[in-house]
Symmetry: C2
Subunit: 467 residues, 2 copies
């Protein structure tokens, strides 16, 4: 299956070939994380933890089940989730008095506790996060990592004394995002969603979208400003310096296993995965190229190479299986190892190691005397080049339009919108497309006309078909 020709089937095939998850589990949309897939996901989690810990978020773990009574306190929220949550109704042989929701997200689990935890302005800001699985009863067709019913997920929740401090938090979230996305070599857009597409209960929502090579966008996460929309029904107040009780302002930030789905979709090719070096289980694989008269030497030197690279902090695999090099190449290409290092008699004679880049197939040599530095440098080159290529794909799909005629297929459309719901819905409905929103921090001012009604507007938005 070719990526260019049939993206969807290609994607499914890659997930299966690389054995990242097993969808044969007897509940549809709840997939098994296999060792290889889980290792990559856990590596992504490690970077998320690193960034959140560095910005004074504390990790917690809240219960999975939420009493229906708590779940229903915020009216928009329950309306948004009513049709897609799992309900626990029985325990043992008993029917429960109060039904329990299996967490689709944890606002309603956390906020009754926040109302106990926060007393005074000295308790603020409160910044916690958790990495857990969440559950949504998807009715659309499921797809590994992209649309599943059990979702691996991080969610941070913060409380602040003022709306401005909550706003500062969102800017911090954007910073954190840029660092994590860099690890994954993923460009993205940050767009303030339309009012009818914001998170149920939010004041506003910033969607984080990645452009897939088929021209559709994949939302990989979101950041929300809640103002006091949740603190009021959940009664989360603090006493300010003058002894007055005030509602806290809240934000949340979440990203899911879709990060991995995006990595596959953007970077993988027809041969298999192409892993960004920072999240690759193995960053380099060493393949000894043996011939009859040098088996011992090459084996010994390969082991030394392995030791040297490992000691330098690299994640390396020495593939010394009794198999032909060609079949080893094939296996590691499927797994997406960024760099293949071949070591044969001639390489040893010439004091080099031969490398082959997974992303481009480019072949060359690294000086044996400085092989650790050379390998690290090459991994950095690969990462930069993967990012640049992904950025190019994203840019190539952007298209400015100024009328509703001759709208191109499979493009991210950029145009002026007056902001009124009537025009927005008219556009969305006509092309069965979604307005993703306007830039969270526009790079430059915009002056244009609404594509529907023609009114002057300073708001430019993107619209796209979504995965």
């Amino acid at each position: 299956m070719l990526k260019e020709e049939n993206f969807n089937d290609w994607y499914n095939e890659i997930v299966e070939k690389a054995n990242l998850s097993d969808k044969r589990y007897p509940v549809k949309g709840m997939n098994v994380w296999t060792p290889y897939g889980w290792k990559i996901m856990r590596m992504i989690d490690t970077y998320i933890r690193q960034e959140l810990d560095a910005t004074d978020h504390e990790e917690v773990c809240f219960p999975l089940m939420i009493p229906e009574t708590e779940f229903k306190k915020e009216k928009d929220h329950i309306k948004g989730f009513d049709s897609e949550v799992y309900w626990v109704t029985h325990a043992g042989l008993n029917k429960l008095d109060v039904r329990l929701v299996v967490r689709p997200t944890s606002e309603t689990a956390m906020y009754p506790m926040f109302s106990l935890w926060i007393r005074s302005h000295q308790d603020l800001p409160l910044k916690v996060y958790q990495i857990v699985n969440t559950f949504r009863y998807e009715t659309k067709q499921t797809r590994a990592f992209i649309r599943v019913r059990e979702i691996h997920f991080f969610e941070s929740h913060t409380c602040h004394d003022t709306e401005e401090d909550a706003q500062r938090q969102i800017d911090e979230d954007v910073e954190i995002l840029s660092k994590i996305a860099k690890r994954l070599c993923l460009p993205y857009t940050l767009l303030v969603r339309t009012d009818w597409d914001k998170f149920p209960g939010a004041y506003y929502t910033v969607g984080i979208d990645t452009v897939m090579p088929n021209g559709r966008t994949l939302q990989i996460g979101s950041i929300h400003h809640y103002r006091t929309n949740f603190s009021e029904p959940y009664n989360i107040t603090y006493e300010d310096e003058n002894g007055e009780h005030k509602y806290v302002h809240q934000t949340t930030y979440g990203m899911s296993e879709r990060l991995l789905g995006a990595v596959i979709g953007v970077h993988a090719d027809d041969k298999g995965l192409v892993m960004p070096p920072d999240i690759a289980s193995f960053q380099a694989v060493i393949i000894p190229i043996l011939s009859k008269n040098n088996t011992e030497l090459v084996t010994k030197e390969s082991k030394i190479l392995y030791e040297v690279l490992t000691a330098a902090g690299l994640r390396v695999k020495l593939d010394d299986r009794d198999a032909r090099p060609g079949s080893k190449y094939y296996d590691w290409e499927i797994k997406g190892v960024p760099l293949r290092l071949e070591l044969g008699g001639r390489d040893i004679e010439n004091n080099v190691v031969t490398f082959v880049r997974r992303d481009t197939g480019e072949k060359g040599t690294i000086d044996a005397a400085t092989v650790a530095e050379g390998t690290k440098l090459m991994l950095r080159v690969i990462a930069d080049s993967m990012y640049a290529k992904a950025k190019e794909i994203q840019e190539s799909h952007m298209q400015d339009i100024d009328s509703m005629e001759n709208i191109p297929e499979d493009k991210i459309l950029r145009f002026g919108w007056c902001g009124c719901p009537e025009c927005g819905h008219a556009f969305e409905d006509k092309f069965d497309i979604k307005i993703l929103g306007h830039a969270y921090r526009p790079e430059h001012a915009y002056k244009g006309k609404c594509i529907v009604c023609g009114k002057d507007t300073d708001m430019q938005v993107l619209a796209a078909h979504t995965m």
Copy 2:
């Protein structure tokens, strides 16, 4: 509340004072992991991962929900869990065709997949594990970390070609256990459970018990040999070297957050937690002792001390809050930091750092010139001493008995048993006590008489009241 006088109330108070978990969540028995408790639990998880990875187990993550149809395939298993599982019956607004069990343990989630994954003897042994939360509808009184309804848990599952290889796995599990328990300074007993107390579906079960200071035992984990009891109903077969299809032999090994409960119960005292150095969030806390004329010097030297210890790989907190030393001592004693390091003008003059051990209160000095080595050594001394003390508590509760008269209260009883269920039940019922089983690997042979019927026997068992 004093530990000696009222262990149960003391335990609850310590959990609350140290802020390890919050039981005010609106579902009883489902507690919130606070940042401090979760940090410790995650540290324990890290050691578990380390040992399992080192023995070629691969980490996976299986779905939370198990279809009723799969759950019921092994008859003893479902009988054992019928009265204590949570049922998901609805999703969104729909009633599910097949009800879903929220995992109480993952045999029935994993084994349908194992039957797809295993084809030939070359796929064996299969060794996987996961660290997840499990769910049991406890009807007894709940208690943080010891008896909860959402349980943080690791479970390893292995498949083998022969019963002997499965047996070897159990010996490996015992090795792994000894390493993890050492980190926690916890002694334990390894006892083969009675037939009526084994895991539902198991061939035999080895219980891992720790003696709590109130003379009751706490089961912190278990290891099971399943033989082919599950592989037959789940049809997990492999083709052997002669092309014959055979059922795999299976084992499992699991331990839960009770590990943390045991650490609290065994080591904490009336002042608060006493953390084993290997799992302490902070292994040492530095308290600058300032007086008017040396503030600058002491502050500077304290920072240097912090840098030196951190650079040596220790987890250290510099408490430079504007508060009296006494109130800082109090705070860190509650949190159980193993070593307090005080640095004042006189210490600096004498080229020493003053230390106070959390476990014994002992005070002394460490040579400033070799402070990192000195601190590491002291932490090792503390760990050894905590283990020795716990071992002493365990031994002091063991009591040999040779008749059913004058049975002591709150002791672990050791006696001969012929092994027949009638005698076993008679003993258990008479004293409302549980036979924990016979030693998995007895240190020496036993010759004695059954305490109930008087018959000669070579089996010695332990019995105790359990937490």
